[in-house]
Symmetry: C2
Subunit: 223 residues, 2 copies
Amino acid sequence: MSQTGNSDQLASSQKLEHILRHAAQTFAEKGYEGASIRDISLSSGVSLSGLYYYVKSKQEILYLIQIHTFRTIVARLQDSLRGVRAPSERLRIFVRNHLEYFLQHPMEMKVLAHEDDALEGVYRKDVAEIKRKYYGIVVEIFEALRAERRGPALNPRIAVLSLFGMMNWIHTWHQPHRDPQAEELSNTMAEMFLHGVMSNRRPVSRQLRSGRGSVNVAARVAV
Amino acid sequence: MSQTGNSDQLASSQKLEHILRHAAQTFAEKGYEGASIRDISLSSGVSLSGLYYYVKSKQEILYLIQIHTFRTIVARLQDSLRGVRAPSERLRIFVRNHLEYFLQHPMEMKVLAHEDDALEGVYRKDVAEIKRKYYGIVVEIFEALRAERRGPALNPRIAVLSLFGMMNWIHTWHQPHRDPQAEELSNTMAEMFLHGVMSNRRPVSRQLRSGRGSVNVAARVAV
DNA sequence: TAGACTTTCGAACGAACGTTCGACCAAATC
DNA sequence: GATTTGGTCGAACGTTCGTTCGAAAGTCTA
């Protein structure tokens, strides 16, 4: 499989994007360490040494993919959030935004989720910063949600990171032809999270673990 | 792995375990592709070529770590589940079992979560089989839960994989000195899931994005 | 003590790695 | 027509990779 056909005539910055697209796919398939520059050369149709005209190192390729993806997601989120006040709706928009991008750019998102700590030095700091910002937006939404609904004092860190877990784990199982698309998936996960986090914290039923054989009666609670 | 256990093989198999422990740590730190056999040699104290007396290849090291970890988790789960009938309690036990092992063996679990598709051929099939079994147990629990409580027709695959996502994502953020331990963590996540999945599926509140054509009326629901 | 079996490891293999270098070429500028 | 500029690439660099091999050391029985 050579190039997509028109890479001869691409402007310089477009060619860089072309390279990054194929690099993301290669990283997603083989992992950052498992993928070689030669693999990227092959899949993008640019010669091995030719890549180094556009890029300083393998690390920089990964950096460019990650930083571009995060910036796009955050920008879109802030845009979609503008003018929406209701915390639960803001949370739904966040989930929708995340999963929409996720399923539209599965390769990039897999690289984001999977190559978390492959970067070093300045690259790493840079990506960590925007990731922190993204995380901060969601924590704010959650705190507003809790304040409004007087929900239980659930650790926001745990709650938000659990939500990220639900969403980011998708790359390990989602099959486009089998599983729901972004809209249904985000509805499901958002409602799951909202109900899970906002109901009163009484256990659905309770049993203490004692020894092995102890059987206890489950208290039935309507939820 | 014969259990007949004469003392020579015992010492030998202990050394294999020693190697696998250090290998898991190395894989967790650098990833499967990023870690070299020389790294494992260095961290385990066994010479480079000496490793090949205990193990056939780098792939086999990864395989042995994964298969052993999965087998242990499944065995423990089946043991803990024995005699417990109530679906919600069974789900709580599953979450607890998973997270307890997770936080007690973070390196192995990180390797499980992270090096999902690094194996090939027979190794891969073997691990996929027990993973499928583990997944199946949880789906059964979920179906029982839904049958009992007449919960909403939530896609079991999505629900269960979301729960796995919550739990397995932990390896990216959990700091032992900062975050809750297994008990509190599993309580939180189990209740979150149970409430999230078992409440009636009406949205907490509803608003459609203004951009597109069709607009739904928001129904406000107290939770 | 001799011989057989298990365990260990230094040294080396060929292959693959990320990166560099200088030659090349087409198009634009002088 | 000569020179510069932006882009491209084959060939090679030094290093590291997974794996092998034969020798040696340790342990056990006879």
